[in-house]
């Protein structure tokens, strides 16, 4: 047992002296846990960063992991720039989080916004620290919410809240090797990073752009025992012959709806593993983990608080009150993160069947395509630009591979085209989409329909599928 967690603000303290057999691996390099416990990857410039509000803009997963260890407990606020952050929003994020120092590496996105007086470059290799790092602060951890349009919301967590799900959790030991398909700059990946640190384990990090076959090969080489990813990650892994090379004891899914088919396939592929799915969001934190092999979660989770996590279902959506939830949003126009009763509204719609809740989808109708979020309205706007189109409805279609894909129902203007011209028209509309939208937002198919339903509110009726 290490020191009481309430006192430990720095991840460095959790490393202890570090076993010489523990490592963080990425595709290009590895770092010994014992080395980072007493060392620095930030060129001995920790004093310059102490007490500041720091933007962590590193690109490499290993550099990010080392910097998180060093900056936690050292800086006043630690804002983690996620992998797909839009450079148009950097300035707004930095202003909102009152950033006054930035940490980068050679893989960081190029941005003039990072040219602050205090800019520290992460260097390859770990140098021994000349002096022990300054006393530990209660660092505010700031994570950005994913993928919707506009400036991302900035969510404040504490280290105690982020690590609360690990208390009394799954048994770990020195033979544990965690792996994740996630990027650790996102909540789901950060959870695994923290589990590796608190659980005295090694960790095999992902690498942007690495083919799944190579990643699986690497996980096998390092003897991964605990592996985490989204259902989409896992579906992709199951389609790779290299999946036979790994034999994890614990298979974890989160971030998307884990349906029965993917749970069953994983159990069949890894008969000796515990296959579990977790529900978490950047705002609400980890709410629960389900290890019984079934989709959804038992209704008693809602009826009785567990580990201090309370849940309720209001108007079909799951709401969570939890010590693991974020503290608040920051930035201009920051809304309240919780309702009047202190619950986070997740916007995830659930349905009760036979004493079990299953997830129905997002209330907002945002479509999740293999982890990428899509607003149907954005695609409709492009389709509607076509001179022969009257209106359109973009909706999700269930996909066994990416969870969902988008398809479009299109109503043509009266008298616009007949018969054989339709195929040509479909091609025209798709061309318009290809010119204006990234690939995942292009409808997989277009159907011409005579009409679309309009709700009483006057808005297009969007059926939740």
């Amino acid at each position: 047992m290490k020191m009481a967690r309430a006192e430990a603000q720095s991840l460095r303290h959790f490393l202890g002296t570090g076993s010489p057999q523990r490592f963080f691996f990425d595709r290009a390099a590895r770092a010994g846990v014992a080395d980072i416990a007493a060392g620095t990857s930030l060129g001995d410039r920790l004093e310059e960063l102490a007490g500041r509000s720091v933007l962590l803009a590193t690109g490499s997963q290993l550099a990010t992991a080392l910097a998180l260890i060093e900056l936690s407990g050292l800086v006043r606020r630690l804002t983690i720039l996620p992998p797909d952050a839009d450079s148009d929003h950097f300035s707004a994020v930095m202003a909102g989080a009152e950033i006054d120092a930035v940490v980068t590496d050679p893989a960081s996105p190029a941005s003039a916004a990072f040219d602050l007086p205090v800019r520290v470059e992460s260097v390859p290799g770990i140098a021994v620290l000349a002096a022990p790092p300054p006393a530990a602060l209660g660092t505010e951890w700031v994570m950005l919410t994913s993928g919707t349009s506009g400036v991302p919301k900035m969510v404040v967590h504490s280290l105690a809240g982020l690590t609360a799900p690990m208390r009394g959790g799954r048994a770990t030991g020195r033979d544990v090797v965690w792996g994740t398909f996630y990027d650790i700059r996102r909540y789901g990946g950060l959870q695994i990073f923290l589990r590796a640190i608190l659980g005295d384990a090694s960790l095999v990090l992902s690498s942007a752009g690495e083919p799944i076959a190579d990643h699986l090969e690497r996980l096998a080489r390092h003897g991964v025992t605990h592996l985490s990813g989204t259902p989409s990650h896992w579906r992709k892994a199951l389609m790779s012959p290299e999946v036979k090379k790994i034999s994890p004891r614990y298979v974890r899914l989160s971030g998307e709806i884990a349906d029965q088919a993917i749970l069953d396939s994983l159990r069949k592929t890894f008969p000796r593993a515990v296959v579990g799915h977790a529900y978490a969001s950047t705002e609400a934190g980890v709410a629960f983990e389900v290890d019984d092999g079934l989709e959804g979660f038992p209704a008693r989770f809602v009826e009785h608080a567990r580990d201090g996590v309370e849940m309720k279902v209001l108007n079909g959506s799951l709401r969570i009150r939890s010590p693991r939830a974020a503290r608040r949003y920051i930035g201009p126009d920051a809304a309240s993160l919780v309702d009047d009763d202190g619950f986070v509204d997740t916007g995830d719609m659930v349905e009760l069947h036979d004493h079990r809740y299953v997830f129905a989808g997002r209330r907002g109708g945002i479509i999740n395509i293999g982890g990428l979020k899509v607003h149907p309205e954005e695609i409709e706007a492009v389709i509607n630009r076509h001179p022969q189109v009257r209106m359109s409805l973009v909706r999700p279609k269930k996909s066994p591979i990416t969870g969902s894909i988008v398809i479009a129902d299109v109503v043509l203007k009266s008298g616009a085209c007949v018969g054989g011209e339709l195929i040509e028209l479909k091609g025209d509309i798709l061309k318009l989409c290809r010119e204006a939208l990234p690939r995942h937002k292009i409808p997989a198919s277009i159907s011409f329909v005579p009409a679309l339903d309009i709700a009483a509110s006057g808005k297009l009726a969007r059926r939740q599928s």
Binding site: S232, M239, P241, S265, K398, I401, I405, L430, A444, S445
Partner: protein, 81 residues
Amino acid sequence: MSVKLTIIGQMAQIAREHGKILAPLRDDLVLLDSGLDSLGFAVLVARLEDRLGIDPFTTSEDAVFPVTLGDFVKVYENGAR
């Protein structure tokens, strides 16, 4: 048109639309090496449902994860019977 030809034709069409280059489409080709990515396969499965009237991946009792192109075609041929 045979199921196999329909699949191959759609793969070529999607590769063109997505700006991808397809590997030679032999039966033993590992799907992940075909040149189409996850999104490409998601679109393929959706289009095949339009053309063949089946989505064997979401309708079958047991989830199937074909590894090669030959496996993939077989899943559709079995589903079409």
